[in-house]
Symmetry: D2
């Protein structure tokens, strides 16, 4: 019952329920002397926050982070950084109708079975609202990582995919549209599709691709804490994620070795990068890239069957303000978790004599 911390040297612990007084966390192990760019942290929060565009939930949440410790005269002190994100404008009555019911493909049922009690308001601890704390820590981790560039973007919504390799994309366009897809043509189709889906009171899944550039050689700790294994765990810990692949991923399983091997250039770089910048669990200096699959949000604004705590199947019509598609808001979360993983390995590498 202690799964709420992530990392060893750069460690995030989080707390908070969707409709409690506040969310928050502790970042332990952030190096001292870093001049924090607080505006940038709030900017990352704004990328995750609800109500930011017409294709995400219209909940209004300010998501303003308050730092309580670990920062003195603008610099990190090496002591733990405590922070809270007050919950404002929560409409708990939105959820009274699910007090005694378990919504399909939600965590209602398992939380009640596991803990014998649950805060049913907005999913309580199982709400994706918890990821706000991850974005705070990830934004700080990015500032620790300095030159390492982490760019995530939406690579598919439903059946609409970007049909280009990431090398042909302009990451500066990621924020140019509400979908966070750098391919403007695909972005337009995705946005339209999300609008349609929302009109139907339905939801749709999608994928996010993340590309990490300027990764130093040597990050990752075999044999269990391989770089891609930690990235995979970090991504799979994000709400609604169903799959993770890096480099050639599942396609690689269909290939022959003679097609798949990345031949070297004399300088140690490779001509191709099906390895995804990782060999034997250790970064090799090439781009690290991976893809994350998100299922469609389970909350529908439609009538559907739910189970109540008396063992009856009853009809329920979803209420509240929900995302028709989660991937646009999940982009900064994917980046944040990637930053947490890298920061931990980055600090660990400094222990080498």
């Amino acid at each position: 019952m202690a799964g709420n911390s992530y990392g060893t040297l750069f460690k995030l612990s989080t707390f908070g329920e969707s409709h409690g007084e506040a969310l928050g966390g502790i970042i332990d192990g952030c190096p001292a002397g870093i001049v924090l760019d607080l505006e940038n942290i709030q900017y990352e929060m704004s990328r995750r926050k609800p109500g930011q565009s017409a294709i995400v939930t219209q909940r209004k949440e300010e998501d303003e982070v308050q730092f309580l410790s670990g920062i003195f005269e603008g610099k990190t002190t090496g002591t733990p950084i405590g922070f809270i994100i007050p919950n404002t404008n929560q409409k708990s009555d939105d959820y009274s109708h699910i007090k005694d019911t378990y919504r399909p493909s939600h965590a209602d049922y398992v939380y009640e079975k596991k803990y014998g009690i649950r805060d049913y308001r907005g999913g309580g601890r199982s709400s994706a609202r918890e990821t706000a704390s991850r974005v705070v820590a990830g934004a700080i981790a990015k500032q620790v990582l300095k030159d390492i560039k982490i760019n995530a973007f939406v690579s598919s919504v439903g059946e609409i995919f970007i049909d280009k390799p990431y090398q042909e994309l302009d990451f500066s366009k990621i924020e140019s549209n509400p979908v966070r897809c750098p391919d403007e043509e695909a972005a337009a189709k995705m946005e339209e599709h999300i609008r349609d889906i929302r009109k139907q009171g339905d939801t749709v899944g999608g994928t996010i691709t993340c590309v990490i550039q300027n990764v130093p050689i040597g990050l990752g700790e075999p044999v269990f804490d391989k770089l891609h294994a930690e990235l995979g765990k970090a991504m799979l810990s994000i709400n609604a994620v169903k799959g993770f692949e890096y480099g050639s991923g599942f396609c690689g399983a269909r290939m022959k070795g003679s097609e798949h091997n990345d031949l070297y250039n004399p300088d140690g770089t490779t001509k191709t990068n099906l390895s995804g910048g990782i060999q034997g669990g250790i970064s090799n200096g090439m781009d690290v890239y991976f893809r994350v699959a998100f299922k469609p949000v389970a909350t529908l604004i439609q009538k559907q069957e739910v189970l109540d705590n008396q063992g009856n199947i009853v009809e329920l019509t979803g209420k509240g303000r929900h995302d028709p598609c989660v991937v646009p808001r999940a982009v900064p979360i994917v980046e944040a978790m990637a930053a947490l993983v890298l920061a931990d390995f980055y600090l660990l590498n400094k222990t080498y004599l």
Copy 2:
């Protein structure tokens, strides 16, 4: 530099290089009083070991595990179980030719860059031989888990896939063919394909599907140590793995919520199981199932370009005895890692008051 342990309450730590004196490990946290079935442990070892069939590497390794502690009069004592697997019949000269070269898509280069030194014989620590220790621990974890049934099998080799849902497969047939594919028709094609690939001196990738039945409700520790997140990390820590998906996986990312939600039966089971037996990171009592992608083995018995430590690209013809396709031997490894993950959460659940 301490990534060689897995688990918290049921913890495996491993050591050993491919061509050192021995591999081995320590299992710390195995409950006391378990009458160990040592034959079964050796049986699991035999499923992983080289030379077991015509379609795997013809290296002859006995892989005999020797237990050194933690067992008294046939029972576990609750103290750490230390074990070793002596390395026998290693031909170190097989590898002298790669002493100064970095093979494409191997860990040679990154180990040397990360550690400044590497045991080049057979890949040293990066060799899949290390997984023998995992199979020992996994076999013991299975005995701890008793009624939980873990079945992994080969679901694809290259472009050859099983075209049935797992519910239509007979798991008792998994061991009926050298591929470890329960669909005999597909198995035959896969076996033939692997034989062809080997003739070409090439290799091919594949996927393994794992189905876990009779999982109690409540395993998994949100928000970071979700059941599927730990399963993902465990699988991604296995050599050559490129991807992990559970339940609907990447397909789920293409679906609508109205198609994807698993509606409840009155008893709390669900009519469908796109969730893969996990909601909010916690097992819900349905089958837990997932799919793991393995890249083709990088060692080819062909001439190919390699980098030497002087920065020259030279030609090298792969020698030694290698697997044309890794998935048949990886099946027990996938089961072992799944067992380690479940044993940890299974013990953790006992801490609830």
Copy 3:
């Protein structure tokens, strides 16, 4: 740089500086379904808080704990309990005079050398104020432990000692005097001595004895995480602690085995208890008891030599409101840390099959 968490299954992480906006922490792993007695938690806080009597610092701090998560309708939910203790009435100007100086036997110098920066106000993170968070978590741990009784008390101040074995003391008298010494005669002498010391602007050390009753047999995890080893670490982590001994302690080192062995009664209890309720690192069902040594507070209200950051030795007269003797207020902290250690082992013991 990540030493701000304690425990594995019942885990406390803390943050906060003496003069920051707030202190606080996260308790991860508290079992679900516990009806928390919040008044009792605030009562424990009041035992630690400044200004509670004439012999402690006259700082006025409300030390009111605010819970932000993990509690729903009065019960713990099994999710992390986040809490904060706002810093009120801090007079930062009290400390401006030490901005550039390192006080003898304080952490000023080492924090600046280790981190390159320090929050000098009131000692920042090194202030004993941090222990307020420990008392919150300890009070909750006590509620988890139910029947296990933890009683700490002041057993010496300077040269004044209780001259009775703890078995002859009435623990209900611990709170009957401001010193928290259950022996009223000794208590009176201690109180008078502390008043004298304060008049001199000096400080004095002391010891606290802690007795834990109704401890179930079997707590403790050899070989490294022995019950007394964890108790020792927990106590030594408290500000100003210089030593720890349990059972016969340092006296035991002067004895012969024939004097020291605890002979058994037929029921498994022992006739004597020089072992301090622990054998081989595991509780044996007898009382667990130990003694903790606290040095005198380093801050004197006298003129003394300090080092400044230019390498000059200068004279400084201590200001602010400080404790002439720390042990009366440290009693609830010792109990809190003991409760954290026991709660962790208590939950761990439930993992046995």
Copy 4:
């Protein structure tokens, strides 16, 4: 049930029972590229091993360590170092007489109650024989620490104490006598006393003082993992230890602040060192020193009352070959644990940016 690992970055995991096939361990996190002095490791083993002099147990054990991994061409590779110490010349029949009995002040009773089973031969896992693995790891940690000098010595046996401060002792004399006491006069008395005690079939306790010199400023991780807190835990985890104090220790609790404070010299060193080289849990560059109390060995070669597993009190005369006083052989163990603690913090300090 997983208390058999110590450390985070420099991590030792141990296994093995007194009379099993072998003891051993895994050192994970040892930096790569260290040319190991194997003779020195074996030398440290010889300081701990039985039969080394007339005043220790006359058991003959070779205690020869065999390294199985992590070392290549004489250098550490950064991969885990696995090692075993075969158990030779164990006379299991020596212990058959205690199969059904619980010896006073031994772990027999608690192991059986905790685990429901125990390997009764020679105390099984609770035997001090386990510390042989610690000495191996400690000897390697010392080689990692290079310039940091760790010297432990016997400072008292029973009522015989060294009556000089450590600054007046010549550490080069520690190995000049079988007691490992650098004060030859005291050493002679101690040796004579131990001979008398052994003649009586009795045992006696003692203390070990450890002095660590050339410690860099900044080791230790407040607020829980303070340097002295970890040293305390490490020492208390050694068999038979009852107490730990550092710097002024328990004497400090009797002093006034005006006597206790260590005034600074302009260079940041202090004129006195009652702080024991640690302030706020962080090393300050002065000598770190501490004292460890060992109880008398519980096994007497006398008739004494024991409990049997039927609840009867019966008479038993201790057999076997035991130490009349444990401290001479415990000196290298204290040094080894100190080295493990320092190596972990030493590596951790390298993570600072």
